[in-house]
Amino acid sequence: MQKIYIEITNLTEVRSLTGIQRVEKSVALEMYKMIREQLCFVVFKSDSYRFEMLDTDLFIDYLKGDKSAFDKMFSGKFLVYEEMKPGDIFFEVDAVWNGKYKSSVLLPKLKRYGVKIACYVYDIIPITHPSYSHFNTRFNFINYIGAYLQYADILIASAQSTLDEINDLSDKLGIPRVKGYVSWLGSDFKAEKNDGEIPEEVIEAAKNKYILNVGTIEPRKNHDFLLDAFESGLADKGFNLIFAGKIGWNVKELEERIENHPLKDKSFFYFKGLNDASIDYLYKHAFLIAFPSKAEGFGLPIIESLQRGTPVLTSDIPVLREVGGEYCKYFKLNDIASFNTAIDELTNDPKEYKSLLTHIKDFKPFTWKETAERIVDALNTLKPEQRKAKKDVSQMVILTARVEDIKNTLPYIEAYMPFIKKVLLCCPDKVSDEMKAIPVKRITIDTLTDGEILKGRALPEDHGTRNFFLRCLAMGSEKVDDVFIMSDDDYRPLKTITPEVFIDNDSYVAYYCHELNEWKGVVGALSSYDHYIYRTRDFVNKHRYPGFQYSSHMPQIIEKELYQRMIKEHPGIESTGLDEWSSYFNFVQANYQDLIKSKPYICMCWPGMHSDWNMRVKPNEYLFENYYEFLYKDGNIFDGMSQEWNDKTEEENKIKIEKYTKYVDEYFEWKKAYEEYSDAYIKDRLEIPSFAVFEKDGNVEIAAPKILEVKKESIMHIPFMYKGKKDGLKLSLSIEANKIRVANMEPLVLSLNDLAILENKFEVAFAFGPKGTPAGNYTLIVSVDDGNSMTERKVLLKLS
């Protein structure tokens, strides 16, 4: 079931609810009645920088007035982004721009996990009318709106006018408009439920005919204008003027004007902190409500007034015209003459006023129920499609041009994957007959040749682009089953595999080995694999798909129709050289909730060697082997063991699994030691141990931690950063003890092209001493050669 996480931090932190918090409260109560099971309210905890989940029922009790529920509603459970399911919704309804988390940091993170993002936008006044906002609000609002315009799946605005302004802003920025909906604010102001007496001075002020303004005293509400109008004629016409609202921001002069007004408490009255019963009384007895605002997100006092049958005279700006419709009178913004004319029309002609009162009776305000219904309807457009996994899988489809390699792999498939009855080999035409002639015992072999796939199209020359091209086109062939296992010619099962490895109830299982956004190739020597991972990274980021890396070098299950759908929705994708596994699985996850269950991969020999790349995911078991010939020679891990299927394979597989498990365990122990050192460094210095190479003002500089602690003989991937414009700097690390070199490495060339792809962050794989290196203190030397000179930085290195 799709979960909706609603952020409502402010609602739990403010004592008295006004404006946005009242909206949040009302919407939460109504949504709870409609979709209780889907909801999860979250609050941001700035001490731990995480979202804490509230107990939904207890939170609603608190909103309904049960103060005892407040402490109990904090569950102590925190939102873990990795555990949010793709397709779940993060719904922002709070005034988050002045909150503690940055939308620019949170939203991309949520997107990586396939979470849908929705936001209720009240207005964008800090952008359109920045003088009405504090500089801090302006600053934070830019971050907030910039993030939501880029990452939100939908925006729900309080008014069409607000949505129009948002779209205008997107157009000015040259970015696609976010899908927008409108849900007006509701109004269920219930005076009869409000306790408290009405102060005598309020009743006294309301005895004479008066014009009322309700709302916070702040610049955009234009109270100065009303005072000007009052002083230049309204008072002479026998009107009282009443302001009801707290003092807001940046109104010191206005506040003084109000307090020192010559007619204060005579015919001009100012009340703050009135209870609801008093506000209700003032609304009901007013001649009219004057609402001369220069900018609004909605204009709730208009609704509150019309609901009580009191006429409204409001400035003629788009949002107020939208909210007031035909039920209000309008005057030109900031135009006293226009304002006075409107007043005169109502006072000079009693029929006009009476007619307005009659007309207002037809006014039907939006209820909070309707507000919530519109919101839920909008959120429902993000409901992922439901689909169940097809369970009938008996075919394996393998892309191969190497007869000998597939010949060596097929016996393993025959032995260990009994549910596979047929193998379709996608191969060049010239080897098709040889492929078909491979001796097999049980399975049937068929081929799908390049000629059949391409049907006259040219094959891309680049290897990285070619495979994806062929796989995409092969999806159009009738020889490919609806559901099949996609594989390469060197992925070998190690044990008996059942369909349950690939299908879990109604979901397909997809095995990930890394994250696309975290992958680091070797700078200066990026391989075609690295490039295709980066292209896929850019593809998923562009389309806001999740970002797991599924090229785990093991067979994986594919549903043909879904692959075809991906191709259809991204015309030309076949020529873009993507990772055929990651593009597909992330696309499916983004579109179908629960259809894919992502699990850590279960394949050994990926990586083949510790130094190949930085493992982030540790397999829990090994059911497949990514076969590398070199691992069986030259003293490497499987040296001396059989490379082909024979009667010892079963036994040897157990030994291989044991050896590789130890190999990986060792790597993760090194990583753990590094993390412990890093945690201690952070605790001691409030700093992360960081390495960087800078080029500044023509000079090369190196930043490094004061001390580095790693396990001796370990191979670590040390994170580095580069900032500069010099291309081709050569970076190397070496270890010395008593001026004797103990270890070094081939210099890495810092190519600006590669660094741009890596976003200036890379890793250096370094072996901290050969076998037999004693523990102790050494000197790590980081050196950079710019072709003219060498810059060095020495770091105390402790090998344990």
């Binding site: 315009l149 500089e701 900032k723």
Partner: protein, 160 residues
């Protein structure tokens, strides 16, 4: 964050500034502060951003990304007393001052310190003094505000 994404925020800042111009008011916050803060993780600060910020705007940006507070107007001016320093020297002195301050000891945010200090330790304070400062900061954090100001006034009274 890609340059394209960063550019969106930059443009919104420009649009806001343009809308503010007719009122004669100042944005107060620099664009450099905004851009430096955009992808700062909540639990740590990437200090390398300081390298790209011009000296005259670096104080505001640095305090905001490190401590989440505004240093503007008079407080900001006090840091520019040595305005003849080069960009690099100014920033090194500024960072040294901040690193040795009690505010830094209080700061929860960890720094990814990609800034070169020409081989010198970033924290120019010995371990004993650093721990003393940490201890002092912890005590100070526990004293209620009202009491703090009374102590301060008492101290000032004695000094006077």
């Amino acid at each position: 964050m890609t340059d394209y994404e960063r550019d969106i925020y930059s443009k919104i800042y420009d649009i806001t500034e343009e809308n503010l111009k007719p009122t004669g008011l100042d944005m107060v916050t620099y664009k450099e502060t905004l851009m430096a803060s955009l992808d700062q993780e909540p639990s740590f600060v990437d200090l390398s951003v300081i390298n790209d910020i011009p000296k005259e705007r670096s104080v505001q940006a640095l305090f905001y990304i490190l401590f989440g507070r505004w240093v503007i107007n008079d407080e900001e001016k006090t840091y520019y007393a040595d305005s003849n320093d080069s960009d690099k020297d100014f920033k090194i002195k500024l960072l040294s001052k901040i690193y040795n301050s009690t505010e830094r000891m209080h700061a929860k945010r960890v720094i990814a310190n990609y800034v070169d200090y020409s081989g010198e330790s970033n924290l120019k304070v010995g371990k004993f003094k650093r721990n003393l400062l940490k201890f002092y900061a912890n005590i100070k954090a526990k004293i209620p505000l009202g009491v703090k100001s009374k102590i301060k006034n008492l101290f000032l009274g004695i000094k006077a």
